[in-house]
């Protein structure tokens, strides 16, 4: 992770049991390197490489999230925003909620 003011600050949150793959930590404030244009798809790989603690197959399937994980950007369904193509903005909150747990 690069530091400095020129990076892209975003907040990443996990819920519904998805946090179990991230050391049970629900909220992560991160600064993404400013060397590229960040899309949600790129962020998924960045999360896998930098935040994920275990069993990546429970988070990613191919180049998107595993079916059953909901993604919200600033409390809006990513399916309204172009999913992986959405371009991250400074200060965005990206929330991943698993629907697969419990019962």
């Amino acid at each position: 992770m690069s530091s400095g003011d020129d990076g892209l600050h975003v907040i990443i949150e996990f819920g519904g049991g998805a946090e179990l793959l991230f050391d049970k930590q629900k909220r992560h404030v991160v600064n993404l390197p400013a060397d590229r244009e960040w899309t949600l798809k790129l962020l998924l790989f960045w999360i896998r490489d930098n935040l994920l603690k275990e069993r990546p197959e429970l988070f990613l399937q191919g180049d998107t999230v595993r079916p059953g994980i909901l993604v919200l950007v600033n409390d809006a369904d990513w399916e309204l925003l172009g999913q992986g193509e959405y371009r991250l903005q400074k200060g965005d909150t990206i929330l991943f909620i698993s629907t697969l747990h419990g019962g």
Partner: protein, 334 residues
């Protein structure tokens, strides 16, 4: 670029509905979600005024949303229901003991009386001790069979008219697939019904039958409902997991697949010539059963006699096993 709500209310949409593809804002989503559940209740005649209803409560997302929505609809549409929470403590350390805390929270939040019944007091066995005996294969069979009966017993203790469970559209579509794969025509016919009742057994209903899991989770999130979200520590070996993964893959390709499978299941009918299992009462415990002795009693006997495979899988295998035990006993007698 924000997307506008399909209902033309002028607000920004927050969710794309999997069932219809509509983009809805928060308020229109709440309205659609709640009204659809009301329609399921109304069209299926799930309740009568004055009914006492036990909500099968696990502390998970489905039963938490069910309790919240039933309370809300009961007030909004004057159903005249008396609502209770009924929880089963299977005795799974690190799972049910934690989730029961959530149920107690529901009891306080929704002001509903709560009854907790444990496998230990009903059967003399906890799931922890069953798994210690039989290993991690087939344990979900025990848990499922025991829970079904435990809910019935709890309902009898509470004196309710009906048990409402949080089965959602995804659960029902999974069950349809599983019953097709197993060739279980009797269950295939029953599993899509929003309400089931029979002589001697309590009425059960599924108000969330047409409600997608995605929407239940979104509703709980936006309403800030607190639920317990840990996978059962024994679950990963369950057959249902495969049906679930398959269904989620289908949903990704075509979101209406879930509701389509339910509709297909509803339209399947067995020919009149197909022999269906008769429903009668267990000769040991008196609960409804399709056999002389019900599955719960057979499983329990297996546990108590140190033959836990009794009642699981093919009966021919069990007979072989029993013969082997008898042969050994005979030898010892010599």
């Amino acid at each position: 670029m924000p997307v506008l709500c399909s209902a033309k209310c002028g607000n920004n949409a927050i969710l794309k509905r999997p069932k219809t593809g509509d983009a809805l804002c928060k308020e229109c989503f709440y309205w659609a979600f709640e009204t659809e559940i009301h329609n399921t209740i109304d069209n299926g005649k799930l309740f009568k005024s004055g009914d006492k209803v036990a909500i099968g409560a696990s502390g998970g997302k489905d039963s938490t949303v069910l309790a919240y929505v039933l309370k809300l609809l009961n007030e909004r549409y004057n159903y005249g229901l008396q609502l209770f929470l009924l929880s089963i403590d299977e005795g799974i350390t690190g799972y049910r003991d934690d989730s029961l805390e959530t149920v107690k929270q529901n009891r306080d939040d929704y002001e509903m009386p709560l009854k907790i019944l444990s496998y230990e007091e009903l059967y003399g066995w906890t799931m922890d001790s069953i798994v210690a005996q039989i290993g991690r294969k087939n344990n979900c069979t025990f848990c499922g069979v025991f829970r079904r009966q435990a809910l019935d017993r709890g309902a009898a203790l509470l004196g309710v008219d009906c048990i409402a469970t949080g089965h959602n559209a995804d659960d029902i579509a999974e069950t349809v697939l599983m019953n097709v794969l197993r060739g279980d025509i009797a269950r295939l016919q029953r599993c899509t019904s929003a309400i089931t009742s029979g002589e001697g057994s309590i009425t059960r209903c599924k108000p969330l039958k047409y409600t997608y899991e995605k929407e239940i989770v979104m509703y709980a999130y936006f309403k800030r409902l607190v639920y317990f979200s840990t996978e059962c520590v024994f679950a990963p070996n369950a057959y249902r997991g495969h049906a679930r993964a398959y269904l989620k893959d289908l949903e990704k390709i075509r979101p209406s697949a879930i509701i389509d499978i339910i509709h297909s299941g509803e339209r399947l009918q067995a020919k009149g010539t197909i022999k269906m299992p008769e429903r009668r009462n267990c000769s040991r415990c008196g609960f409804v059963s399709s056999c002389e002795v019900c599955k719960a009693c057979v499983l329990l006997e297996g546990l108590n006699r140190g033959m836990p495979k009794l009642g699981i899988g093919k009966s021919s295998k069990v007979r072989l096993q029993q013969a082997e035990v008898n042969r050994l006993k005979t030898r010892i007698n010599f």
